[in-house]
Amino acid sequence: MNLDARRYVILTFILLVGIIYTSRLFYMQVVDDQWVLRAQEIAEKRWEITPPRGVLFDRTGKKIVSNRTYYNLMMVEAEIHDLDTAKFAKLIGWTRDEVRERFKEIVRGEGTYYNKNTGKRTPNYQKIRAYPFMKELTLEEVARIAPHLDNFPGFYEEVTSMRSYPYANGANIVGYLSEVSQEEIDEDRFYKPGDNIGKAGLERFYEKELRGRKGIRYIVTSAMNNAIESYADGKYDTSALQGPPLKLGVDIQLQAYGEKLLKGKRGCIVAIEPSTGEILALVSSPSYDPNLMIGKRNISMYYPKLLLDPNTPLLPRPLASEYPPGSTFKLLNSLIALQEGVISPEFGAPCNKSVVGCHNHASAGNLADAIKHSCNPYYYAVMRRIVQQNRKKGVFADAEVGLNRWVDYMKSFGLGRTLETDITGLRPGRIPDVAFYDKWYGHHRWAFSTIRSISIGQGEVTITPLQMANVAAIIANKGWYYTPHFVKSIGSKGPLPEYRKKHYSKIDRKHYDVVIEGMRRVVYEPGGTGRRALLKDIVICGKTGTVQNPHGEDHSTFIAFAPMDNPKIAIAVFIENAKGGGGLWAAPTSSLMIEKYLNRKVTEKEREKTIIDAVFSYMR
């Protein structure tokens, strides 16, 4: 046995381990980067700082949506000891059971983590982490609690920012914020549970702009999750950046005035500046105070009530309610007939009440008078000429051609499709086309006589008040429009590019003059249906509509623009189930809005009082 040689066995052993360890260390430290990532997971934490949301201003520079400081009462279970539940409950004004229940609720709310390897479920809740025990306390509430928190270790207050609405108006425009849903978190990694997100209105449409940029601090944390120091001296940190302010085209005082006028009534007002497409006011009545929808506590209290209200205050009617346009639609049919050359401005037709009911007036000898009187039989005659142009053999095939051409014009007015307005909740309305009627009646089973109610804006036609106002704007502009929009500027940038593009109707500019003249006569000539819209120093052009409604009283509607020569405002008013026609309710309401906007004061006090005081039976 050569024992001396055994030293080499041992030396080999030692050197082998040395070589293997060195190569392993080389692999781990230099080649394989999974450990770097794991180390980051373990020791580096991101702290996110949520900036306050962008602020909204109206067209006159008034702040209409701002931020307010609130406080969360936070708790860290690991730091709580000897909690006197009774005393604590008394401090925050709860019962002991509520306090205990809240602890359980927090644990439940965090959910559980399912480990696929072991098949075990473990709660996500961690005793060492901070959770909000009470959310969204006001300064007054927290001032009462905070001084006593020293007696309750593990509880502390934390500042948070929430919305505030200095004007209680325009709830359906601005929308509201609420906590993100799981789907929203999955979709966009910006959000964490408990974050707020815009759920409706501009808050939702401009969410990406308004939310700003979260600040991120990378910190080195201990196993107990305590911050120890900034990672790499803050080299990779980014600061939080508030979202840019949005300047709206809305005039908050006009908006407030409109809401005041429609009190006690279901209805809408939409006002647009024709030259820019900016929405000046978008009233939906009844509405709600946006301050009711701030924070989890308020939302859980008021949202169900608002949702169950039979008068649907949460519904943005101007965007989402599709009404038959009634007689206001005659303006469009006039324009189409002129463009198609099937009538001339001098076209006259007898008011033949055996065809369709009409009110008592002299037969219209020309188009402008027909508009003034809103003569139903006249428009049957006009529509027949549009639909049945004898371009094809057979009445059914011919009607198809005529209707197709008509639909084409209607689409160019932004009807029958969803406008690209910068808000959510828009509906398209309906312009019935060949396919629609084929489905409804069958192929070649319909002609003008079947579909004639569309000539006076009844029947299958529906449009939203926003579209109606846009039609008024198109007429005011004599044939073009910018898509109606709310936001004039985002920070230092102007409106979104799609609102800087002019859209043209397929009607030549020359045809508008006679229609506009007709609209003037509606208000200013004896026998006009909109005489109650008359203003002394402003020339209003308008058109009334009385929408027959199988379910109850007629709806009252009016579209208008003013002043006639240099239109500054185009407006559509729609009042549901008003006793009396468009001339009685919607026309005076429009005139009040126009006067308020153009003169900043209202002289027609009598008219104003009548409108404001009216409370319809369904609202009582």
């Binding site: 066995v9 041992i10 060195t22 394989d32 794991r38």
Partner: protein, 465 residues
């Protein structure tokens, strides 16, 4: 000692300097890992670095005493020293448990662990015993006594319980192997009863210990790697099961051996040696694959048990937690490290790696100094171990040689297991990294061990034997 010689006249300077360098680097690491902004002074006794500095001073003082005493005393008094350490091991069993083990003697923070000193006692007695035995005439009794010297303290240590130190005591088996104390007499006694068989020695009995260790280490490494999948940054989409990497490593080692043999071995032996290497490789690869597929074929609960034992199981607060975090700390160090006092995962303040100032002190070192640091550390240890073996082999006295080997093997064990558990090659067994880990007992015992070796070596010419 000859008259006129200074204390350090024949001291082995390379070993001594390596030792001092390790102490300094170790101290710097403890200072870094335990650094407290409020008490940045390294002499601050309320902090761990202050205490460690005191232990370091005491250790050097003990070293001085060792150098003042004639080296012959260790051989002469090896029995009483051994008995004394055994006595301490018995007493310590009656102390209250701290962290689940009765391992500490003393008051408060100034306690010592008798198990650390039992290593020295056992080393000395084993050296004494082997120096008195004629290896060529060893019998069953010789083997049993040698084993008993090791086993008695092992049992007492297991009672504490202290698994780490228990495992370290098996390092003495390597020393026995070097000295030719093998299990042959036991095996022969059994085998030779069979009629017709009359062996003088068996290969297995002679090399029983290294073979056993190769088998155990290979099995453990295979098990630890069997669930791992290796990926390489420069080879995207290539995933190598951990088991293949074990076989590949074995193959590379075998290849190295073959190349090595071409230069070293005599021509006539080359054929036989090549055969041994190829055979060894085949057997090792076969064993590794058997362990791997045997393990994969086990039922889940059996697997769980093994995984739990080796600390592989996902157990957020268990051994795997420690190892995982330790590996993250080591691996995140990169090539040049994060910089001194910049360890983010393994600093004591962050507490992600438990025991990062004691058993896991390699973590902050590796995190702060990167591969450059760890390579240097491994190289330092390699140099120290090889140097000790060189010293061992130049001793005239068997006692000195055996003792030197025990020192080498104990240090090697601590090195291999401690760093092994930081890089996923060894189960998590709590033993300190010599000269680095915070703690008085290990610092003192390793220092005394080292100084005794240096003293014995410096007086090697005095011994007439």
């Amino acid at each position: 000692m000859r008259k006129g010689d200074s204390l350090v006249a024949h001291m082995d300077w390379p070993l001594f300097v390596t030792y001092i360098v390790m102490l300094i680097v170790g101290m710097a690491t403890v200072y870094s890992v335990a650094y407290n902004e409020e008490h940045p002074n390294i002499f601050e006794y309320s902090e761990k670095y202050g205490k460690q500095l005191v232990w370091l001073g005491i250790s050097l003082f003990l070293g001085l005493i060792v150098f003042l005493i004639d080296s012959d005393i260790y051989r002469k008094f090896s029995v009483p020293i051994y008995m004394f350490t055994l006595f301490l091991l018995v007493i310590v069993l009656f102390t209250p448990k701290i962290n689940g083990a009765s391992a500490w003697l003393g008051i408060g923070s100034m306690g010592v662990q008798p198990a650390e000193f039992a290593k020295i006692g056992t080393a000395l007695l084993l050296a004494r015993f082997i120096s008195t035995v004629n290896v060529k005439q060893q019998n069953v009794q010789t083997v049993l006594i040698a084993n008993a010297i090791i086993l008695v303290p092992m049992v007492l240590i297991l009672l504490q319980p202290d698994a780490g130190t228990f495992v370290v005591f098996t390092s003495f088996l390597f020393v026995m192997y070097r000295e030719g104390i093998t299990y042959d007499p036991l095996i022969l006694r059994v085998i030779n009863r069979i009629p017709g068989i009359r062996f003088k020695e068996t290969w297995v009995g002679g090399h029983f210990i290294p073979i056993l260790f190769v088998v155990v280490i290979l099995s453990v490494v295979t098990l630890l790697m069997s669930n791992e999948i290796l990926e390489f940054g420069f080879l995207p989409n290539v995933k190598v099961p951990g088991f293949y990497s074990v076989v590949a490593t074995l193959f590379l080692i075998a290849l190295l051996f073959l190349i090595f043999l071409r230069f070293v071995s005599a021509r006539r032996e080359r054929g036989r040696a090549t055969l041994v290497v190829i055979l060894g490789f085949s057997m090792a690869a076969g064993l590794s694959s058997m362990v791997n597929y045997g393990f994969q074929g086990l039922r889940q609960h059996q697997k769980d048990r093994i995984e739990l034992f080796l600390g592989m199981k996902e157990d957020p607060n268990g051994k795997d937690y420690n190892r995982n975090r330790a590996m993250a700390a080591v691996g995140s160090g990169g090539f040049i490290g994060k910089g001194y006092r910049e360890a983010s995962v393994s600093s004591v303040r962050s507490n992600h790696v438990p025991e990062s100032e004691t058993d896991f002190i390699f973590c902050p070192f590796a995190e702060e100094w990167g591969f450059l640091g760890t390579f240097t550390l491994v190289a330092l240890y390699m140099f120290m171990l090889v140097r000790i073996i060189v010293i061992a082999e130049r001793q005239r006295a068997v006692f000195n040689r055996v003792y030197a080997y025990t020192v080498a093997m104990i240090l090697f064990y601590h090195f291999a297991i401690n760093i092994g558990m930081n890089i996923g090659f060894a189960p998590v067994i709590g033993i300190p990294l010599p000269f680095f880990s915070y703690g008085g007992s290990s610092m003192m015992s390793f220092s005394v061990m080292m100084f005794i070796l240096l003293k014995l070596d410096s007086q090697r010419r005095d011994v007439l034997q």
